[in-house]
Amino acid sequence: MNRLIRFLKGYVRIRLMSRDPERFLNLCARNRILLWQLVNRNGSYEMYLSTADFFRLHTLCRKSGSRVKVLRKYGLPFFFYRNRKRKAFFAGIFLCICLLFALSLFIWNIHVTGNYANSTGSILAFLEQQGISHGILKSRLNCSDIAAMLREEFSNITWVSAKIEGTQLILEIKENVDGYVPEETPEGPSSLAASKDGIVSSIITRSGTPMVLPGTPCKKGDVLVSGEIAVKNDSQEVTGYRYVPADADILIETTWYYYEEFPLAYEKRKYQEPGFSFPFLQIGDVRLETFQPLQKDELADEETRLWKLHLTENFVLPVSVGYQRSLPYTTEQMKYSRGEAQKLAESHLQQYMGKLEEAQIAVFGSEIATEITDTVCRTRGTLTVLEEAVERQVCEQRTVTPTPAPE
């Protein structure tokens, strides 16, 4: 910092020639003149001091009988003085400052953090639809409006902070990480019916009339919770019906059939040394290739790597560079042994169970067998699962015909 201030104010290197240099130095100290890099060189003293202090040396030199010679001048004032005739140079500096100022009025980078479920690309695409893109004027942005728009568009975004720092628009996002999505509550009266055949395992009704008990078998289309609630009088006679949207947690025990088959014979690829990499430049959809391979291998994979050029983190230019190369391979006919086939079938089944678990479908029973013939490995059987296999149906409304009063 001191160096910068010295440079801005300007400083000089001087040579002191004196019979009593110590007196000169002590006078400088007494008059609060800061000296630095004081060196005794060939009987004379060389030192640095600021330009302002240099003009105060006249009296001190007279008092101590010293002579001072300026060796070199440093700093911005001297630089400007030396280049005072180079008007185009100063005009360039001025234009550069103006350009920097003009560029600082725009947003050149949109930085999105904290997003996991919604990709940065989808958020940027939505913002672009709303007219907010790279290169927009900062004065046209309203951070609170941007935050509100994002919250409205992406239902799983629970909190958004939008702020402008320099030429960067920073969007900090918090998402609903527990996966809870508020269900849309139907407005009209409706019932809940089974969407698959099975046995009702549990039923917790929040609104409507339950039509089945746990343990009851049901068929597809059977109404489990009706949206019709009977209104009864003191004599337990139905006097009318009230219709509501049925709401309940229903778990149905259903049976799923599992079938998987794969041949024991397979082709194994053995990759050889990759071929030469051919670089290319791509502008938009036009690719400018440097070379094309003269002879293409019959059995080879093509590997293409592409790097998009970024001006800033999310400001992607329509220019890419990359390379293309072929990966030749040879094939070999192989056959799974019985043990390998068994393991592969088990791993496929585990993958399938994992997918069911991700979909929150509980598996509590399975009868699966693996059969290995000379050519294929076949795995089949049934899985007993608990799932919310219900669908909403429109509830038909009916009216109670008034019974005639006894005469």
Binding site: P21, E22, L25, N26, C28, A29, R30, R32, L34, L35, W36, Q37, L38, V39, N40, Y45, M47
Partner: protein, 94 residues
């Protein structure tokens, strides 16, 4: 009675008992070394001699002689100075 050359100032015992640092109470010079290459001097009065092999400084309690080679005064102001170079001996002269 023979007079001391640098008698302790009056009230020195009181200042010592109050544990006031010596540089504040007696304005004694502070010499801070960083190895044998850098020396910070505070509370000095003036430079008596400056040569590449010897620097003599006057303080309130006497003279300090610094001997070495390629001695340079990195900066020099009324309160503080920094000496760099290869220092060999420091002598406190009465």
């Amino acid at each position: 009675m023979k007079r001391k050359k640098h008698p302790d100032p009056p009230g020195s015992s009181l200042l010592s008992s109050m544990q006031i640092p010596a540089d504040l109470s007696y304005r004694e010079a502070i010499l801070t070394f960083f190895g044998g290459r850098e020396l910070y001097v505070e509370n000095y009065q003036k430079i008596l001699t400056y040569e590449p092999c010897c620097i003599r400084i006057l303080t309130r309690r006497g003279r300090v002689r610094i001997e070495g080679s390629r001695l340079t005064i990195a900066y020099y102001s009324g309160e503080e100075m920094k000496i760099t170079g290869q220092m060999q001996t420091i002598t406190f002269e009465a």
